[in-house]
Amino acid sequence: MLTANTILLAYHGTDGAKRAEALAYDIISSEEGGRIVHLLVVPEELWAGMQGDDWLNNASTRDTFGSYVEGMLEKDAAEQVAAVEAHCKQRGLAYTPILRVGDLADCLVAAARDQKVDLVVIGPPRSKKESGLRSRMELDTLGRGLPVPYVVASGE
């Protein structure tokens, strides 16, 4: 069975991400020094377009909206971080959160290099039936850019 000391986990609270989290705990070595690096990316391309082509509003209204959305994403990210951190604590694992705004795959590759992880664990693409935001991980970028292997949790 595959084992690793430091695992980079891409986790955004979706069902797929939860499976990835479980898989990471299965894989990580139970001996001392286990560390989960939790990467949470706010997909910039998607959110930057959310003010759309608004032009009628006063700039202040748009700014209120901007702060509202940013605040909400921030709060959401903080909740995800708290959840994974708590799970790691239970298991006696070290925990490092990394929060980024940008492209999912690019940020993942950068984080894997920075943090010198042994393995990357990501969730499966969302099934067509599930609803949710449309923003996918570019597996090509991952495959070419990652210095370490990556594992995708099963979709079932």
Binding site: A48, G49, G52, W55, T64, Y68
Partner: protein
Amino acid sequence: MIYTKKSPALVIIGILMFLWGWLNASGSIDGLQSALQKSAYSDHTKVNEKFQAELRFANEQAQTEGKPAPELKKPTSKFDKEKAFQTKFGYFFGSVFVLIGLFILTWKAKAGNLDYYISTVPGMALILLIAFVVRWGLDPMFANWGKDVQAAGILSWDFAKIFNLNYVVMGILAGIVIVNVIGIPAWAANGVRTARVFLKTGVILLGTLYSAAELAQLGFLSVVMIGIFVLGSVWLVLLMGRRMKCPNTMTGVLSAGLGVCGVSATVAASPVVQAKAGEIAYTIGTILLWGVGCMFIFPTVGHVLGMGPVQFGAWAGTGILNSAQVAGAALAFDPHGIETLKVAEIFNITRVLFLPIIVLWLAAWFVKHEESAVKVNLAEVLVAKFPLFVLGFIAMFALSSTGVFAPAGHYQGKYFSSAEVKEDKLLKPKEVRALEAELPKARNASETKAMQDLIANRKVMTREEGETLKSVAKIEGFDAVAAGAIANANKAATHDSKIIKNFRDWLAWLFSIGLIGLGMQITVASIKQAGGKPLIIGSVVGTLKAVGSLVVVLMFVKEFV
């Protein structure tokens, strides 16, 4: 944070524009320009031939009389004017951009307002460059293609005309394509985002072009139509949302977005109804998808149904979900006049005035249905949401009603003045004789008087007489030469109001630049979020609104401007 990115891009754009101006001035691209500006060039050839003939005649005459060859001034053709205009534009913006570009390259940026404002220039220059290419290149190119394809018998209709492939539509399309295919370069990002300021400027300036009567009529029509359709669709979404068991936050944000003015309303209402991130994304995606679709469908349907500017403006202003595409569709329908835009923008302004009311309604609705809701302050919402640019529009309208820009009656861009009729536009003796011969055909005293005045002065004296003469010309069996004389005399007494004509031209530029900038805010990543219940509700409400307002417009709205 430093906004200005060091990049030679602005200098390059400036040099390109300058070069274009120089090429036009030197005449080295006359071949290209004559292919693009076909009708202007044929006018040019005619003017030239006439001039050459006159010159030859004058020379011959001078020779026989033994005088030196006379100097004749060559008249400027439309083609010359167009080239001179492009030269002026190229030189002006080219040199401005090169200077600012050099400043950016040498300046060590410090955070502050100067940095922020300077950083917007490269993006705006990029948009202006796109506007140049689209307006002076693609627009005439597609127009020529459309005609050629039809003339060659490949299609029985002019595809460029039917699909409205004019500079407005292509500018917006260019924006959408650039942002989604190659992306906005970092040096241009801030300027592209800021370009919407030109739309606001355009609307404020539009205030100079309405007469009070026009504004009152359009205002009344828009309040009635927007009132019915906005309130109706907000109510419908609230109802459908409950039926489909959507969360209150989602229903709230959807009803604002689909009901009032699309993305702008979503932006204004989201914090009030505490919409979730995902719900905002679905709503914006749905609205952008519908908006872009409508911008292509509406003008085509409008042309097929033969709608006039008031009808189309009213329909687009009511039926299109997103306000940015209202301006786009109006200009796409009528790219070389701004009659439709004038109507559509009144509807847009009425919509945005409904926005604070709807936001308050939703706030009240949300408080009633959701325990976690925070009560909003009525006055605060009204003040914060009341759009400043509408105040500007009203101020500009008030200013122009005092007659500073142009006397009342000039707002259509044309006005009547007998005193300003030029010497060479007076009726020719042959025309006067024809009119004298037709004088007995006048049916009443006023018609006789109008004809007598025309014959005596060789021009139309008052606007009323001009109208009377028009109906005289329609008398059965009226001599064709005399009728032609009346038409000529009326035409000679009708002048373009220079200032209003210039305002119209500048407005067209402001709107096209603003709309290209807005096109660059439409990302596929956000459109892809369209889905789920919002898409279903959006499709139902969007279709009902588009079809319903079309029926109402066709039944009740008559052309009156």
